[in-house]
Structures are given as C-alpha cells and as structure tokens.
C-alpha cells in the first residue's frame, strides 16, 4: 500500500474527506478493483487496531480496579433477589398487556408479601450503601505541585484515590509514632471504606471518647454506619439516638436513617 493511498484511505474511513475528494474516492472504489481491495485491507487493519487499543485500555482500567477493591462485602449483597421478577416476557404481546399484568402482579405481591418487601427495603446492606460516603479529606488537602509530600499527605492522597489498603498501611505506620486524632479517624474511615466493619467499629468507638473530641460527631455517625455494615442494627440505632438528641450536622440524616430501620 502506498503512503498517499494509505492516508487517503484513513481519511475516508474516518469521514474526513472533502465532498469532492469523497466523490472521487468512491468513483475509484467502483472502477478500480485493486484499490477497492486495498481499502478493505486498510479497514480491517484499522478495526483490528481499534480492538487492540480498546483491549489494552480495558486491561489498564481493570488493573486500577483490582488495586482498589470496592468496600466489600456490602456491595455484593443488594437486591439481586429483587431483580428476579417476572419470567420470560413474550415480546409479541403488547406493552399495555404486560403493564396490566405487571400492575396486577405488583398488587398481588404487595398484598400477600408486603412484609417481605418492607423487610428488604430496610436491609442493612442497602441502607448502608445509600448512606455511606467516605468522609472527605479535609485534614491535608492535596496540592498537586510535585513537591515531596509529608507522610500524612501521602496517606490521605491514597485515601482520596480509594486505594484504602495502601492508605491503611501508611496510616498505621504514622500512628505508631504519632497517634493523633486525625490519623485515627482516617484510619477507621479507611477500614470502613475497605469493607472491614469490625475493625472500623473498634476504632470509631475509641475515637468518640477521645479527649479533644473534634471528630466526635463524625465518629458517631460512621460508627452507626459501621454497625449497619456489620448488621448490628440495635447498636446502630442506639448510636443514632445519641446523634439525634442534639443539634449537629448529622442530626437530620441520623433521624431519617433511624426511621428506616
């Protein structure tokens, strides 16, 4: 394939030829069999290249995902039972027919198994997922200027990037030397975000009694969520009650969650 042809073909495939060039190109395509063959080969080549590039990018993204696991096990539970609704719908039947059937089915379900739905709505896993947000990094805002970072900055950068395993390691190392409240709080947060609720519970409980108590309310809220993730609903409720008593940032959320439990 000559170079000029190649460029021309690439432009054609990407739709970047001018109208005049396009007409010329298409005329040649029908009249010149060798040229047509060349165009086809180039097309195959570009498609294969595209598939290659895409699979490489996919691998890269998978690698990132594997390095930062989701806060399990809470993620693995939700709602797949709920998805098992109606079976094998027949597409030939009209939509309205199915709408009526589904409404009827829904009514039957609600009447006969209402309790079942209510129970599912409030399953601790689902609630945890809808309420949990990792606490933002406010302790060491990340400045991206390439300067050498202090250990805590490094740790919180990993935390921000959801690389919780690395963040935990780093925070544990810092805590050995200087177990400040900030370090303990983000350590507990990292455990919870990484799906280790029992460890998080231990650490949040210690924090809520901490002397300076600057993270007290946060610790209470996330302690409640950690209990939720650990399916200890009663303990979750009693922590929420504490939050509901007085005016604070989490009061509304706590009240709402409490009602759903």
């Amino acid at each position: 394939m000559s170079n000029t042809n190649q460029l021309l073909i690439e432009k054609y495939i990407e739709g970047k030829l001018s109208a005049e060039e396009q007409t010329k190109f298409e005329l040649r395509l029908v009249s010149d069999a060798a040229f047509a063959k060349e165009v086809n080969e180039a097309k195959d080549l570009l498609i294969a290249m595209h598939a290659f590039g895409r699979s490489e990018l996919k691998k890269e993204l998978q690698g990132i995902a594997n390095a930062a696991p989701l806060p399990s096990p809470v993620f693995s539970v939700i709602r797949d039972e709920e998805a098992k609704g109606s079976e094998g719908q027949n597409p030939r039947l009209g939509r309205s027919y199915w709408r009526i059937v589904s409404i009827a089915a829904a009514i039957v379900l609600i009447c006969t198994a209402g309790w079942f739905f209510i129970r599912k709505e409030t399953s601790p896993e689902t609630l945890f997922i809808s309420y949990f947000e990792p606490y933002p990094n406010v302790a060491a805002p990340i400045v991206r200027n390439g300067a050498v970072k202090k250990p805590l900055e490094q740790a919180l950068l990993m935390y921000e990037q959801q690389n919780y395993v690395a963040a935990i390691d780093q925070l544990l190392a810092i805590a050995q030397k200087k177990p400040t409240e900030v370090v303990s709080f983000y350590l507990a947060m990292s455990y919870l975000s990484n799906g280790n609720a029992p460890e998080a519970i231990k650490r949040f409980e210690a924090l809520k009694n901490h002397v300076s108590a600057s993270y007290q309310k946060q610790a209470l809220w996330y302690l409640a969520l950690a209990f939720l993730a650990d399916k200890q609903v009663d303990k979750c409720k009693s922590v929420l009650k504490q939050l509901m008593k007085e005016d604070n940032f989490y009061q509304k959320k706590a009240t709402k969650l409490f009602k759903q439990l």
Binding site: F52, K58, A65, F75, S76, Q89, S130
Partner: protein, 187 residues
C-alpha cells in the same frame, strides 16, 4: 475546569482519564447496582466500558466541548450501556433515576467490536509485534495522537524518527499478517 479535563485527555495525558475513572467509580457502581440490579462485577465491567466509550468519543473529536459536566456525560453513556445490557437480560425492567441526558445519541453510543476472521488474524499479528511498534501504532491509530504528541510522549528525537519507525512497524505488521494468513491456509 471541564474544558481543561477534556483538553488534557485529548492531548494524551493518561492520568487525566485515570483520575476521572477513579473519581466516579464508586458512585457509578452504587448507582448501577441500585438502578439496574446488576452485580458489582457487572457494574464494574459496565463502568470500564463507559470510560472507554467516553475516551473514544473524546479522541474521535466527537465531543468538542461538553455542555454538561464530565460526570453527567459519563453517567449518560453508562445509562445507555446498562440499558442495552438490561435489554439483553430482557426479563428485567429497570427503573432509572432521572439524570440529565446528553441529547445526541451518537455521543453516548458504545459498540462492541465483533472481529471477522481476517481482523482477528491482524489482531494476533499486532499482539505479536512487540515494542516499540505496539505502543506507537496504538497511540497513532487508537489514541489518535498526532506524530508530534507521540514524539513528546515517548521522548523521541524528532517527528521524522517517529514517522520512519511507524512505517517500519506497518511493514512488519503486514508481513506478520501474511505469515499468520499463510499458517491459516496451511491448516
């Protein structure tokens, strides 16, 4: 801010894409699980495809300027991908929370590539190429970076060096394809 992200991605800064991918990953997966009843693995997979579609559309210059935030755009693509996934599973009806959609269908499309036999042969030949050919061809044909950008990214001396190298790679690839083709014929 939005403009900058898009510009950075388009100019070949991989970390701009990677940061975006990391930033919305958990949100997306939660959202997908809640609204499409998929498993975390399926949601993760859909998010990767979403990011790929997002990236490809930017690199193809389909997206000049975003009228919405990258997040909205990302979720619009994701919704499209998850809807067709749900359709395939067919016996599910998903109730999707309302998000502001991107108007243009083409902008949220993501087509799986089905390779013909010949195209699979070519793919095998690309994989057998090794470096630096794989990277150069990928950057040129998939990432659609200009020769100048490739020079910057890979630290070559000049555009000419890259051009020569790229032509060499294409030649090697073509003979590679012929070889695999011959092997196929002999079978």
């Amino acid at each position: 801010m939005h403009k900058e992200i898009i510009e950075n991605i388009r100019s070949g800064k991989r970390e701009a894409l990677v940061n975006l991918y990391k930033q919305y990953r958990v949100d997306f997966i939660k959202w997908a699980i809640k609204n499409f009843y998929c498993s975390p693995q399926e949601a993760e997979d859909a998010y990767q495809d979403t990011t790929i579609a997002f990236y490809e559309n930017i690199m193809k210059n389909k997206v000049q300027e975003l009228s919405c935030s990258p997040k909205t755009y990302l979720f619009a693509i994701g919704k499209n991908i998850l809807l067709s996934w749900a359709k395939k599973k067919s016996n599910q009806t998903a109730d999707i929370e309302h998000i502001k959609d991107v108007e243009d269908d083409e902008l949220i499309a993501f087509e799986k590539i089905a390779l013909s036999e010949q195209q699979s042969n070519i793919l095998a030949a690309i994989k057998a190429l090794g470096e630096p050919c794989q990277t150069i061809l990928k950057l040129y044909y998939y990432d659609r970076l200009s020769i100048r950008k490739i020079v910057e990214k890979l630290g070559y001396k000049s555009e000419n060096v890259v051009k020569v190298q790229k032509n060499r790679c294409m030649k090697r690839l073509k003979s590679g394809i012929e070889e695999t083709g011959l092997k196929e014929d002999l079978r």
